[in-house]
């Protein structure tokens, strides 16, 4: 296994046998905009409008289990939100991480609940705590906080001592 591969070309060359990379290169060559292999973990950056198609491709390639959807706020860098998906393959015993970068103005990305119904709660959590919307989600409501809560607390610019 290579030590660390930090850009798309290096990853595509070094991990050419990886099932996820093979599937995405064959079926969705335009979906992967960048890639990284670090500390034994593969990360693929997916174009924001391709995430649902990419997930469907991965699922057909054997990555059958969605473990987690979460988000990282890189305020004040643009694009600000990094929606992160962890997808596991029971058969290959491998995990792949997807990043989708989202701009700070009206942050939104396609929901993947039609691919994995389990994304329902995870995406509601991301909406609740980061304020990233998911198009096509069956019921995008707050999940942790009360309905009337203002703001999204895990954003880096959220005032931790409350609004003054």
């Amino acid at each position: 296994m290579p030590e660390a591969l930090l850009n798309k070309d290096a990853v595509f060359e070094g991990l050419a046998q990886n099932v996820a990379i093979q599937a995405l290169r064959a079926e969705r060559p335009e979906a992967v905009t960048n890639a990284k292999y670090d500390r034994g973990e593969l990360t693929l950056v997916i174009a924001a409008d391709q995430v649902r198609a990419a997930c469907r491709t991965l699922r057909q390639a054997g990555y059958n289990f969605l473990e987690d959807v979460t988000c990282v706020d890189w305020f004040p860098v643009e694009p600000r939100f990094q929606v992160t998906y962890h997808i596991l393959s029971h058969k290959l015993k491998e995990r792949v991480r997807l990043h989708v970068m989202v701009e700070s103005i009206d942050p939104s990305v396609d929901s993947i609940t039609s691919v994995w119904p389990s994304a329902n709660y995870y995406e509601r959590e991301v909406w609740d705590l980061f304020g990233v919307r998911f198009h096509g989600h069956p019921g995008l409501r707050r999940i942790m906080l009360p309905e009337e809560w203002e703001g999204h607390p895990l954003r880096k610019d959220y005032p931790v001592e409350g609004y003054r």
Partner: protein, 419 residues
């Protein structure tokens, strides 16, 4: 996948017939007044904390289930961002009061992966031993409360007897019964006390027969069987689609255990079976967890027999606090101690996702570092949170009383769901 037979010691019960699955017609369009909405929880004894379930019922039959969570949300993920990396360890205990060690382990493994440090074998084996004791602890509480939900009050007293001994062992080794915080980034907090291994040995010597005792109380009990068999069915495809992990996933016939399939903390050096069942109902989850307890006892025994000697902390002076004696006699150790406590240590930028098999399923920590002494983001993927999504699939078309059995069988901890 192999079907594990139900308990072979189970006696034949005369007159016992497996209840057929209830098929209930949904109310027609415009017939909305046939159903009523019932609020179960948040203060309901069978919801294991503060879970609120909104049930739409038609007579006694459940038509829709909407879990409402967030009553225990304390913003732990946000708090982590204000702490040093090592200060997060005690926070991870508070997520789940039944498996603090598993949370500690998962967080420590994630940060150790970010730092790329090697953990000495003795520390890894101690972690395995304590994690299996945690699994036993968690399953014992689950068994007692699950049986209590069904109406078998006695079992609770029996399981808490053994659980008390496990908590005493935890107190002995870490100084705390529940919020242990015994694992540190880079190893363990302390060398285990001298008679620690003897106490664990004394406990796991009696445990197999104690598990027989619980089985004697429950497995042949016709009321218990009637309440559990055929209830809360979840197919393998549904379980995977809904993000279910751990014992409910294996009870639905998916042969997947992170300890065996993606080993961490030298679990690959242990021999154990992963019980799997194809039944997919509450009964299968009950049988499977009891088998898991027996396997945990075996892992504990292997850990005791083969416990390697050596250091319990990694050789990384910038990350691991020095021993007290060294700190008092060596200048460098004192400086490192001072710097770690006051400034923390810097973790190279990057991101990792570390998953471990907790008693409830796949627990994952996603840690992002920006190169400073504080985590940029820590996210916990908790098994109960995902498993709760499958509640509706398991309950619809069944009776209200079955909802109680199903909630008990997926073994949720609300602190973990709400974080």
């Amino acid at each position: 996948m192999p079907d594990t037979p139900d308990n072979p010691h189970m006696p034949e019960i005369p007159g016992f017939v497996e209840t057929a699955t209830l098929v209930v017609p949904r109310p027609e369009e415009g017939a909305k007044d046939r159903t009523m909405v019932l609020n179960m929880g948040p203060q309901h004894p069978s919801t294991h904390g503060v879970l609120r379930v909104v049930l739409e019922i038609d007579g006694e039959t459940v038509v829709r289930v909407v879990p409402d969570i967030g009553y225990l949300h304390t913003g732990i993920e946000k708090t982590c961002e204000a702490k040093f990396w090592q200060q997060v360890v005690p926070l991870t205990d508070r997520i789940d009061y039944l498996c603090p060690m598993t949370n500690n382990l998962c967080y420590c493994l994630a940060v150790e992966k970010l730092l790329q440090i090697e953990i000495p074998e003795r520390a890894q084996w101690m972690r395995v031993l304590l994690n299996e004791l945690t699994r036993l602890n968690s399953h014992l509480v689950w068994l007692g409360t699950h049986a209590m939900d069904i109406g078998a009050l006695t079992v609770f007293l029996y399981t808490f007897r053994e659980r008390e001994e496990i908590l005493r062992i935890f107190e002995h080794v870490s100084g705390q019964r529940m919020m242990t915080s015994y694992f540190r980034i880079g190893g363990l907090a302390l060398e285990p006390p001298l008679d620690f291994f003897d106490r664990v040995q004394a406990l796991i010597r009696v445990l197999p027969e104690r598990i027989d005792e619980y089985e004697n109380l429950l497995t042949g009990n016709p009321i218990f069987i009637n309440r559990l068999k055929g209830v809360g069915y979840l197919s393998a495809d549904d379980a995977i689609a809904l993000g279910v992990t751990g014992p409910p996933l294996r009870a639905s016939g998916v042969d997947w255990d992170l300890r065996r399939d993606m080993p961490y903390s030298s679990y690959d050096k242990f021999q154990f079976q992963v019980p799997v069942s194809n039944r997919g109902d509450v009964w299968a989850r009950y049988v499977l967890r009891l088998q898991e307890m027996r396997e945990s006892v075996k892992i504990c025994q292997q850990a005791l027999d083969g416990m390697p000697a050596g250091p319990i902390k990694a050789d990384a002076p910038k990350v691991v606090l020095p021993d007290r004696e060294k700190m008092k006699t060596q200048m460098e150790a004192l400086i490192y101690h001072f710097k770690i406590v006051t400034e923390g240590f810097q973790v190279p930028a990057g991101e990792v996702y570390q998953a471990v098999e907790s008693p409830r399923g796949e627990m994952g920590y996603y840690a992002v570092s920006d190169g400073t002494a504080k985590p940029y983001r820590v996210h916990m993927r908790n098994p109960s949170f995902a498993t709760l999504q499958a509640l509706e699939t398991m309950c619809v078309g069944r009776l209200i009383a079955d909802v109680v059995a199903v909630i008990g069988s997926i073994d949720i901890v609300l602190g973990e769901i709400d974080r």
